[in-house]
Symmetry: none
Subunit: 157 residues, 2 copies
Amino acid sequence: MALFLSTYVNKVDKKGRVSVPSRFRSVLVDKGFETVVLFPTINGDAIDACGMDVMENLLEKIGGFDPLSEDRESYADVLMSDAIELAVDGDGRIMIPLDMLIDADIKAGGQCAFVGRGDSFQIWNPDAFAARKKLAQERTRSRRAAGAGSNGGSDDE
Amino acid sequence: MALFLSTYVNKVDKKGRVSVPSRFRSVLVDKGFETVVLFPTINGDAIDACGMDVMENLLEKIGGFDPLSEDRESYADVLMSDAIELAVDGDGRIMIPLDMLIDADIKAGGQCAFVGRGDSFQIWNPDAFAARKKLAQERTRSRRAAGAGSNGGSDDE
DNA sequence: TGGATTATCATGGGATTTTACGGAAGTCAA
DNA sequence: TTGACTTCCGTAAAATCCCATGATAATCCA
């Protein structure tokens, strides 16, 4: 199975076009897609990206359409309404809508980081991602130091 | 079953290419892989290498993509964003990304050690690995002298 | 057995292809 | 036409493929 792995930093040109990393494109093609679905991350820091399959799974998970129920997981609705499906053009690029770029603090003419997450990926302002990653690493380390202990004593892995 | 055993030291050429030891290549083929997945060891000293199965298991364990949860197990995210799947080329070589080489203190044009660990292997700066090995041996010796005895000897994992 | 022949392997150096990315020309609707 | 978007083409750098070489290990055969 193909997974979205690793991190690639690409340039957003002044028209707002970005090359989707070729590895990520291959994964999409492997899954049988020629489009990507984008939507804001739940806390708005970045942009979530995936194939249409993930959207379908999500819809299934939240129960699909039920005209009798008034409240479905409300964020899921917002998510669907914010999501957009983008075609990857002949040169492997997509055009991320301006408001999404602004929300994720990515400037046209600047750079953005494509971050693999396995079955999906995210698009970040590179600096913001670096900061977040550092945080996550520290959290992991302190958690390990705190009590994980487990084996003979070496903290190597 | 085939295991990654022994240690091989190969040269990293100036383009960043390294021959994967032929024994290790055979093991990979035996397991049904034509690619290797690399990611930094948890403490950043070296590079971990395994087959794609490990990544897939990890993804399954963390439950896959859920846009509704603010952050899933953060170490898993860091791992996916740092990991990379590399194809072994026709000559049995891989191209390790530059930043990984730097983090592991391996210079292009220098050497690196492929260290078997059974169902996975690691890639080290040869000197760093030698030092670490010596340390582990001393630790084991003093522990045996102290009386513990117990398992195979190394407390590595 | 021992010496010659033949694989296999690690490694170097081109040559070719791919990729990211800029710009120009074409398309379409208002 | 104007502005927004799309398709097309050119380029430089990087990744990948292809073949040559030397070294070592395996094989063969008188």
